[in-house]
């Protein structure tokens, strides 16, 4: 379960935690109702589970409601999600009917009484149609890249979005022109969660042994779903090129193969291409493998995230937090996390990735420097405490529209 605010002091310093308390005092007693579409699984639920108790600790009455819907509704919102990312889909009047009916039943069922209604992603966005009756200020938190939607997708959600007071996006390139203010708030990792807490050498060794990964050679790792956009075949090829000069093992670990036919196909191709090489470890992990992912990242000499297209790419922050040198594709939110040759390496090709694997394995001092800088950058910008601070600032902004300097 979530940690107490005081437990973050040794990590971020007393000043940062004090600031959170001061902001909390300014918002004391405000009721903030978070609404998303699932209580577990996925990044949004993971953040809310940890954030809501912390908001409560500083005096905010933070609630969490979840929209319910039929299979048809969730099939539609999955299409909507993909179409907002650019996959073509035709939205029919029937689709609109399914969406509106589910919204209506949730409006009846949910406890929507609050000062601030904090709506996460498109599934609950329709609730805003009753804002006049419900009252309060309304924020729409979008985790999706809206810059290049398929035709019809943006038109589907735009009438809802324009009714909010504020919108929140994860990266500047994910937005589009909107009639309402847009705030940039990056997602975050929790340094006290199983995926990121410091593990002992014994814990790491035990997990690596269980997974069949040896410690006799440096480990190069990519953690991500078996998805073409994460380019696992490109990673394998880059590693094969690098390995001609520097001896090392490769770990490709992730999920997504069990419930996604394309994922299963990609996994099969990667396995086939890797052949019987004992230095390649391909692991299809269940989504609950947080400690396993932590152990693999912690044991790695180099971490790769060779994404061709990316959301925010929080696996990069996870690896940087463990002070690892990271080689990543300059996609989505990754350039916000890595400054090239300072806090990591940004590459564009398989050959470039191979070149930097060799360099970083051969120059461990430079690699350590990148890892150190990356760790400091994540501590200042991508931890849960910064995320909480920005959300509270967004709540405060609702009472001060159109001002540049707000005195609290």
């Amino acid at each position: 379960m979530g940690a107490k605010l005081s437990e973050y002091i040794p990590i971020v310093g007393e000043g940062v935690v004090q600031e959170l308390s001061v902001l909390g005092a300014r918002l004391a007693g405000k009721k903030v109702v978070n609404i998303n579409s699932t209580r577990s699984g996925g990044g949004v639920a993971e953040i809310l589970q940890r954030l809501i108790p912390l908001l409560g600790e500083v005096g905010i009455d933070a609630q969490w409601e979840v929209v319910e819907g039929t299979q048809d509704f969730f099939a539609l919102t999955k299409h909507l999600h993909n179409a907002l990312h650019g996959t073509p889909h035709t939205f029919t009047a029937e689709d609109q009917g399914v969406f509106d009916m589910t919204t209506a039943s949730n409006l009846e069922r949910l406890n929507l009484n609050g000062d601030i209604m904090f709506i996460h992603d498109p599934q609950p966005a329709g609730l805003v149609r009753n804002r006049a009756a419900i009252g309060g200020k309304w924020i729409w938190r979008c985790h999706i890249d809206l810059s290049a939607p398929a035709p019809g997708a943006w038109e589907f959600i735009e009438p809802m979005v324009r009714q909010f007071d504020l919108s929140v996006f994860s990266a500047p390139q994910f937005t589009r022109a909107l009639p309402i203010p847009q705030i940039l708030i990056s997602p975050s990792i929790d340094p006290l969660a199983d995926k990121n807490r410091e593990l002992s050498r014994t814990e790491i060794d035990a997990i690596l042994t269980k997974l069949g990964i040896r410690s006799d050679k440096p480990i190069v790792t990519q953690i991500s779903r078996f998805d073409r956009l994460k380019d696992p075949l490109g990673v394998l090829e880059a590693w094969q090129l690098a390995r001609r000069r520097v001896d090392c093992q490769l770990v490709l670990a992730g999920g997504g193969a069990s419930d996604d036919p394309e994922g299963a196909e990609v996994l099969r191709e990667v396995r086939e291409r890797a052949g019987t090489d004992i230095d390649v470890h391909i692991l299809d992990l269940p989504p609950t493998s947080h400690i396993e992912v932590n152990a693999i990242q912690s044991a790695s000499a180099v971490v790769i995230q060779k994404s061709l297209k990316e959301g925010f790419g929080l696996t990069v922050s996870e690896a940087l937090w463990k002070s690892k040198p990271v080689i990543a594709g300059a996609a989505g939110g990754i350039p916000l996390q890595i400054t090239h040759k300072y806090s990591g390496i940004l590459t564009h090709t398989i050959e470039g990735t191979a070149f930097w694997i060799k360099q970083l394995l051969s120059e461990p001092e430079f690699a350590r420097q990148l890892g150190r800088n990356g760790h400091n950058h994540v501590r200042s910008n991508f931890l849960l405490t910064r995320h909480m601070r920005d959300y509270m600032l967004a709540f405060l902004l609702l009472d001060h529209p159109n001002v540049d300097v707000i005195r609290l």
Binding site: G15, V405, I406, R407
Partner: protein, 224 residues
Amino acid sequence: MNESKDLTIAKQPFEFCSRLNLTLLTGRKAQDLAEMAENLRSVPGSVIYHHTHHFLVQHQHLSPEPPNDFAYWVSNILLDARLGEELASIDVMRFSTIHELREALVRVIETSLERSGEVRAAPRGQEFHFMRSVSFVMPTGVRAADLREFRNALMFVSLSAISYHMFDARLRLETGDNDFAAWAEGQLGEKALAESLRTLDPYTFTEEGLRRRMINLVEQRLGN
């Protein structure tokens, strides 16, 4: 001055405030230098402030360079080393208003456009996104009535407090001076110390380095 001697007590103690910024997206972007110059002329002042100051906050460990987002983008995305250097070396301390800083940025870019005649475009997805900062200023409850209390406070106030009094007061609130120098001179009569604090170029330090340098200056005055 010896630290054990009596110190001048300020009628108005220095009240440390801290500043937290929230970033707002404007929806505007530039793909090349011509679009960059065009936007720079018309964006709100809070956009200029954001892109010349957020690096200091977000990359506390990376400063002293690159000092502003414009220089970073031109050097690393447009790969124009000369213009990148010219933008990086704009002396922000010379200007007492955001308006003057804006003019200087536009002038440097326009001169470069005239010189080279070519318009280099950023690769797709790496356009420059214009953003602005909204600042939330809060009292920290920390006060200093004399130089010794001031030095002690400098040792533990947050970096955002130091940068607020050093950067925002002068340029954003257009008081023409940084708060520390104004207080040292106005309240304590410390003209020489105020001048040292005034001529300090905060943009060439990391925030932690700036804190150390200021403490040194005050300690020298205290005779330590």
